[in-house]
Amino acid sequence: MSELKLEAKQGIDQQTINSVKSLGESYKYGFTTDIDMEYAPKGLSEEIVKLISKKNDEPDWMLNWRLEAYKRWVKMDEPNWPMLNYKGIDYNDQYYYAKPKSLEKKPKSLDEVEPALLETYAKLGIPLKEQEFLAGVIGAENNMDTKPKKVAVDAVFDSVSVGTTFKDELEKLGIIFCSISEAIKLYPDLVKKYIGTVVPRTDNYFATLNSAVFSDGSFVYIPEGVKCPMELSTYFRINAENTGQFERTLIIADKKSYVSYLEGCTAPMRDTHQLHAAVVELVVLDEASIKYSTVQNWYPGDENGKGGIYNFVTKRADCRGVNSKVMWTQIETGSAVTWKYPSCILRGDNSQGEFYSVAIANNYQQADTGTKMIHLGKGTRSRIVSKGISAGKAQNTYRGLVNIHPKAANSRNFTQCDSLLIGNKCGAHTVPYIENKNNSSRTEHEATTSKIDDDQLFYCLQRGINEEDAVALIINGFCKEVLQALPMEFALEAQKLVAISLEGSVG
């Protein structure tokens, strides 16, 4: 405990103080873009699956793949084991496909994209122009490296990709970064070879649903030996009402390659719940590594629990190669309901998996999130750092699995999961499963649950910081280890987000 306290105190620095002071409104991404949309009819049926496939101009093999998933899904039951309590989802009262009319014909370049769409992204702070971030502007105090940073973006609006930036520059290196609907057409062999091999179509209720109806998403291929020179990022925006978003992302890091990938998500404030069921598959070959970061800020619903996104996501990395590495970092602040367990299958010898997570649940939000580390190869290593914060009437659960297979000799796991409670109407839960089946392997798990330390709070108050800011400061300190794992460009954004998400939780 004492170590934890120390760290939290150390975590408070001027940068945090400043960022907390400059907080904006509660959910600043809640606006709606007024735009002409084309919808598929409401509801889910074989016809809808066929329609989505047709809209994307897909080959037969893809359509059949979807139809098989659909047939399977119809026979499956929604899981009831998470500590989540939500009204049943009426799968026939959703739109499964919504597309801005102006994108009927895919724009050749971003210049052709409808201005209202571009404005939406500008308002969200997403650079759809091929501009360079000046690292000096963001987090300058900490960043000695003031070289301009580039971030390539694939923007997904409701069911379709708006456009992808820096494509040409990436192509020169042999890197493929495009929407998955394009990839199915342009690189069918790659897609065929890898899709569904990490998260099989039959994996779970939501992944199977996604397999049937996914409309778009991102595709990345990093060729052998290439270190991707810029951050790749996908920005998901749900805009249309009553519309589910089902994106599918597939990233393949070939031997000795490296990529850092970031996804962000927002949605307008709406009174009704909206469904988001995504699948992310990462394939990591020999000596390759992928850093995958998420800042999930879907609309969480209002302070009475009205509206908000139901977020059911299956993310999994398959470390197939020797010495391969995956690092998941997630900042989960949004959504009314979150069900998400980014996992690593450590198949290759000496492969490594890391999971860093901050999950904040305020008001009536519910989060059941964590990770799975499956150690199959020899000498595999995993590390889990999870920070959960509950406030208001929220329920926040860490659920994790560490499994060391009998053949995974000399493997190691370290898990640290800490929970903070703010107020006595919320809940914080920890449900780890640890299964060690090898005598040369070691697992270590530590978890604590407590409230904000009174001494820390008093220290801040005594220095003239008001209670709400002080709590935000301390929470940022509590989360620092995870926030630091984010790419520099996004760490500060995430810090602000942490503070905003907790607004109104004190006093």
């Binding site: 449900v431 299964e435 005598n439 649950t449």
Partner: protein
Amino acid sequence: MVFENKNSHWIDAYTRKFEESFKSINLLDNKKEYWRFASPLIWHDKLPIKKFQETRSSQSLKFDVTKYSFLRFNDGILDTETLKKFINENKNIEICSFKDIFLKKDHWSSLKFSKAQLKAEKSYERPLALFNGFNAGDGVFIKFKKGVKKNLHIIYEGKNEKNNCIRNLFDLEENSEIKVFEHFYGNSKYNIVSELFAADNSKLEHCKIINQDISNSVIYHFFGNCKKNSKIKTVNFSFSDNPVRNETNLYLEGTNCETTVASMGFGKKETSICDNTVFISHQEESCKSRQIIKNALKNGAKAIFQGKIFVDSKAQKTDGYQMSNGLILSDDCEFLVKPELEIYADDVVCSHGSISGTLNEDHLFYLRSRGIPLIEAQKKLIQAFYSEILDEVSEDNIVYYIQNQISEMITL
């Protein structure tokens, strides 16, 4: 009092309820969290009951007869001689065998009977405790009156080839201080439910030893309701080569309760499964609970720990702690744990930890660098691994007895 007609007894209503609930559960459903790691069938009827075989006789545990009263179960039936002796020696304790309760129209236990179990069944159903509820053949019901201090030693011995269902009830009135040691030898298979009612300021030290020569499975449910300022400790030792499940459910219903659940298991055969399932429910303020679980495993043995600290929103200032350690000494062993926290109050300090792995190389080197041979060094470290559990036992002869059992078992 539940009196339907002359021929029915107040217990019958409970019995029927248990039977109904049991029958509504599908024991084959392997998706239930409650038996995620080991099916209840392992303890129920999946394993054929082994015939009695004369094994090397276990060292017996010597107690100072002036300090302890004895009760003995033979083949699941409470021995009347020891019971008579107990009654003669202890005027301030009310005691009755479970069998005899059926002969009494009225009994003090009717106000308590099954209350602790049924409370726990609300959170999730425990099929084998339910099974016990309509199959118990005997048991002992004891009421320790206000301020009584007593040390009790219960021996379970037998050679029969039945599933012996035994049902005990310990009622501790205010300010009583009780030690209960339970010791299992011999052949029989057991399904035991013990209920505990600990009144304000009462104190219990409960210790259970399941010997290596127990040749069938044991499942033991301990359900306790703990009131204000009570201090409850239950320590389990399991050396069995056969499946053992210790299930401890304690409800802390008064302020300032303190509870400790400590368990050690040493499994050294493929057939050995040591399952500790613990549920501590903090219902009131300022209670403290600790769980310490240690399992050493070799030759394909398996250990399971499912432990939960539940903190109600009323239970501010809770201090909860949970530690599980697995010492894996050879290939093919499994250490499977699910240490859970479910917390609805904010002013709490709860923590848990779990470590599994083999002996620490640096520790081994330090011992060896002083001239202690490898095997000796390993033995020392295994004993050190358990020391935290032994520290919980106040009775020296039990500590020595366990130490001897451990060193006998460590032939690496």
